[in-house]
Amino acid sequence: MIWTTELPPFVPFFIGAFLVAITRGYLRQALLLLVPILGGVHLLGVEPGIYGQLTFLDYTLIPYRVDRLSLLFGYLFHIGAFLGVVFALQVRDTLQHVAALLYAGSALGAVFAGDLVTLFIFWELLAITSVFLIWARRTPEALRAGFRYLIILVLSGALLLSGALVYYHDTGSVTFEYLGLEGLAAWLIFLAFGIKCAFPLMHNWLTDTYPESTPTGTVFLSMFTTKVAIYALARAFPGTELLIYIGTLMTCFPIFYAVIENDLRRVLTYSMINQLGFMVCGIGLGTALAINGAIAHAFNEVLFKGLLFMSMGAVLHMTGRIKGSDLGGLYKTMPITTVLCIVGAASISAVPLFSGFVSKTMIMVAALEQGYDWIWLALLFASAGVFHHAGIKIPFFAFFAHDSGLRPKEPPLNMLLAMGMAAVLCVFIGSYPWLLYDLLPFPVDYVAFNGTHVIAQLQLLFFSALAFTWLKLSGLYPPELRSVNLDADWAYRRFAPGVLSALSPVGHLINSSMRRAAIRQVQSLLTFLWRHHGPHGVLARGWPTGSMVLWVAILLAMYLIIYYV
């Protein structure tokens, strides 16, 4: 019964999260690993179709619908969750493990949701579960950033729900399918997706919060939220011309910020917006080639961006630092991490034989074929730019550049293994893309490896590298500086509060005391969790055989219940 195809893929993750919360030590680690493996094996046996409908109030809900598009994201999220779990295996913080599994489960729930109400529920769950991965860092910055994150992403959910209700009013259905950008409902839903997709001016929740999370938390964060948004856009708004322009803007503006940003994980968030831009653009182009390219790129991005965040997480974990100005010379004592990071960097830069190449070029070719010459030029500019800031800057300033004097050891074995597996996948997909191509929504007749594509890409990349070398040697390259760069979030982090306090001192007082109260609440919750579930917590002490037997018995009982229900 447990292997029935009718079991929605999020269920194992939610059950797993519960079991992980009440177990400790090796048993917990085994459970963490088993959840994505068993879930993934289960999903391999699932065929496209609709599994069960239910009526809630007046709505016909389809909580579990499977087609080629959702299956691909389903496989992807299982792989991503597995890599993340391996990477975080040594972490002794119940909060993070539970939040990570619930978060991955919510992402799975969202991509298999067949109606807008179910989608809304998982959309909000994604925000609520993932914020704990940010708060788990337990710094004042992380607490504050977590609140901003929650407000913006819950707002996205509110827009989605309003859109769904208007849509129901207009059509009498809440089925989640192609919408097209017409009417109020579609616009509301478009905006909701746009926030999670980090559209320009709505992008700062991403750059603000991901770098504040824990070394392992950011890896999970980078894999799910934005990819669910890409999936939702691809289903509801393929071929929407506006997306071409939004996507192109997203590829271009963040790379400027990435060049001058000092926090290397924040550089990666800017480069993430750049990569999302390629996908959004592909969805906007809407041809079979472009959609395939966008989806394939989302698949690859989870792996190579996950790998890059893992390598930076490993650096942060081992040195406690992540600013470019504090790092350098780490290749001396972390050679394996260095090589794995370079594999990720080569993949995101779309070097031939690495994964980015086989998907990004599809979108570029599609843009040219559709006659969007200027868009193509802009994407080409962004491709050179991404090589510059993610391909060269990240490995260069972390592992080479000036010698920081830091001599950290390699990270723990599980971290190396997770990075190693991600790197192998990046190279495998990059050299043998046909397995991925077979999973794509449309049949692929695109040839990635022809002389024209390969030579053009190599010329672009190597001369970008030459430009970097020249700028660096001539001293023109801007140094890494301890600083903050103003972005759109200035409007709500500085301008609006400033206006508020200027207008009314009382309002300012209420505002700041409410903020303080909210932060205190979360702080005390986190302290509570840490005291009981942290490495030295009451529930983590010792492992008497008696309680081991007890938990095994409970597990067995639950298994039997699920089996016979």
């Binding site: 504050r144 790379i255 400027f256 910020y257 060049v259 001058i260 010379g329 290749y331 001396k332 070719v365 040219l368 074929e369 010459d373 193509w376 030029l377 080409l380 500019f381 050179a384 730019g385 510059h388 080479f400 001599r407 022809n450 002389g451 024209t452 030579i455 053009a456 890409q457 190599l458 010329q459 672009l460 990349l461 190597f462 001369f463 970008s464 590298a465 030459l466 430009a467 970097f468 070398t469 020249w470 700028l471 023109l476 390259y477 801007p478 500086l481 301890r482 600083s483 903050v484 760069n485 103003l486 972005d487 982090r493 500085r494 509060p497 700041s512 903020r515 303080r516």
Partner: protein, 89 residues
């Protein structure tokens, strides 16, 4: 104690300037070859701009220089101290 001194004095690959030079020379050589390929190899292009001689070579180089120099200028407008947002909230 002895071992400690040993690690401190250990020379790593890029500690030797000639190794840096070697890597740079390899980069220049590859760039040279890629530049010359345009004379020999006829690329099957979709768009006429792509087929222009040295198009990707020049575009890649110029794009990156513009990117970096423009970002450097952006700093004058956008850069603030690290504690800029640490207000009383």
């Amino acid at each position: 104690m002895k071992r400690k001194r040993k690690t401190r004095q250990r020379q790593y690959f890029f500690d030797k300037p000639q190794n840096v030079k070697r890597v740079l020379r390899v980069l220049y050589a590859i760039c040279g070859v890629l530049f010359l390929i345009d004379f020999v190899y006829h690329r099957h292009v979709v768009h006429p701009w792509e087929g222009l001689w040295g198009f990707h070579v020049i575009y890649g180089f110029v794009a990156c220089v513009i990117l970096v120099l423009a970002a450097k200028e952006m700093r004058k407008l956008l850069m603030r101290k690290e504690d800029y947002y640490d207000m009383d909230d």
